[in-house]
Amino acid sequence: MTLAEPTRQAPGRDRRTRRVVTVTVVLSVALVVGALLAATLGRYPLSVPAIVTTLADPSAHPGDAQVLFEVRLVRIAAAALIGAALALAGAAFQAVFRNPMVSPDVLGASGGAGTGASLALLLGLGVAGIQTLAFVGGLGAVLLALLVDRLIDRRGSVLTLILTGLVVSSTCSALISLIKYVGDPENRLPQITFWLLGGLSSVRPSDVVLLGGSLLVGGAVLIALRWRLTALSFGDEQATALGVDVRLVRLTTIVAATLLTAVAVSVSGVVGWVGLIIPHLARILVGSDNRVVVPVAAIAGALFLLGVDTVSRAVSAIEIPLGILTALLGAPVFLYLLALGRRRGWL
């Protein structure tokens, strides 16, 4: 007996593998070249040869070295790390919730971080205080969503969790509005508004260390779980029957992805859309196998945010807030993906 219709020749694993390798190499090369070009842009002129010379021997031109290492590379690294973190978290959340429309702040990470940061700004705390409260707020909001979900729905359905996340997010926006309302309109209010728009103009070397560390930990967890996430996409019941501890995998993924999101948002402010569209872009490029989607999304996210951040600081004398640019770019790209998805039948 055979159910297989005689169809086109097996399209070949080789073609698929070649495509994955090509995409990965192209994106990686683009990231390195993009970083190099981004390093030349800014008020202090640095040519590519000057950068290469400085990288080879930092003592040759101390002025160049200072701009390159203390300003440009810090910002470039922060943009790339945040882009990678948000895209990884987005890919993970979309897999765990079996919903392609989900972004990394679905459980309230951005809302919580925004609330924390606004509170810190209202209290007049310094950068460290803002970041700490933003991180605590982001993590706290997600934990709250998980706790409420656990109390409401003991069977742990995905839908309840998304809805609890929505409630926590809206509550956070209400709190942010309240903080803005009581904030001093001359001083505090503009600061809060500016922070919420997102940006990397005040990023410090220590932030890069923080971002790198969280990406290393959170990324490793998500990379390790990516195969099990594919099993989860078939539903809890099938995943369980396949031998996957659904609850453990889901919770671990949420914690790792939330760590990535909370750290990123605490450094950059709210930068939307990256975690939503980049995983889709990765899937269009390499198919829906999480084994490749997850790492490819990370590289693509790094490249994307590096590009957007470079535009935000280099295109005009006044910096355009990062969150505004990602939203302006993200919305049409998302609509395009939506149309493509409907046509190809995966949405």
Binding site: A10, G243, R291
Partner: protein, 268 residues
């Protein structure tokens, strides 16, 4: 005299249901390697509940389920997955996955600490596809396949778990006549290779066709289990489904046994 094959699945006085309330109780049965057990009963009689309990997706309210001689509740998820292969109904799988990757998911329970399957797992997955004669579907996307092909892919995934018992939930639902009988033939062949097969169905004919034994659930919670022809009588089937049933062998008993319900007489 041949030694009878080992018992791979044993239910002792099992009660099953939701939230501690038994829908069905006192179920005892044994399934041996190479046997095919058909599970029948009207909608709501508890087929699915019993099925889920045996798979360990639902805790038993009472009694014990033993798989491969060990109680189910003492087995880890991974150990269960290596004993019981679950084939769900076609229809809810996400699109876009490649067939080989879907079958590879069957290896998840055997990965241990490895994050992703390796070449040996791929070999097992390809072997499962080969066994069902669908090796040429390996590189296709799940979304491009017909219902019958998808059902076989899900069977292949369960086979890649290398289970002692294959559990299929209405494997022929939503299939056309040809695919229906092909899936049944595939179950028969797997049983001949020594796999124990348990499947639920709404069609007694499937049990007559390939079943070695049948379990028929009655609306009152009682049940009969035994050789197909002893359990699926016109009287008992009629009682189970609340209609009058005719059973007709064809070709002097060599052809398929037909089974149909009599249309109730029109209201006057």
């Amino acid at each position: 005299m041949a030694v009878s094959p080992e018992v791979v699945l044993r239910l002792q006085d099992v009660a099953c249901g939701y939230a501690g309330r038994a829908v069905l109780s006192g179920v005892s049965l044994e399934v041996r390697a190479g046997e095919i057990l058909a599970l029948l009963g009207r909608n709501g009689a508890g087929k699915t509940t019993l099925f889920r309990t045996v798979l360990g997706l639902l805790p038993a309210v009472g009694g014990t389920v033993e798989v491969g001689g060990r109680p189910l509740d003492r087995l880890s998820r991974r150990e269960r997955a290596r004993q019981l292969g679950y084939v769900p109904q076609v229809g809810e799988e996400p699109f876009g996955h490649r067939v080989l990757d879907v079958v590879l998911l069957g290896r998840t329970a055997s990965l241990g600490w490895r994050p992703v399957p390796g070449p040996r797992d791929v070999a097992v997955a390809r072997e499962s596809l080969d066994r069902l004669d669908i090796a040429d579907l390996a590189e296709r996307g799940l979304g491009e396949l017909s219902g019958g092909q998808r059902q076989l892919v899900l069977v292949a995934r369960a086979l890649a778990q290398r289970p002692a018992v294959l559990m299929l939930d209405e494997p022929t639902a939503n299939l056309d006549l040809g695919n229906e009988v092909r899936v049944l033939a595939c179950l028969r062949d797997l049983a001949a290779d020594g796999v124990a097969v348990v499947f639920t169905s709404h069609r007694p004919e499937h049990a007559f066709g390939v079943g070695s034994r049948a379990l028929l659930l009655q609306p009152d919670g009682s049940y009969t289990v035994g050789p197909v022809r002893d359990v699926l009588t016109a009287v008992d089937l009629g009682r189970a489904y609340g209609v009058e049933v005719r059973i007709t062998p064809t070709d002097g008993g060599h052809g398929p046994t037909l089974c149909a319900a009599v249309l109730p007489s029109p209201r006057t």
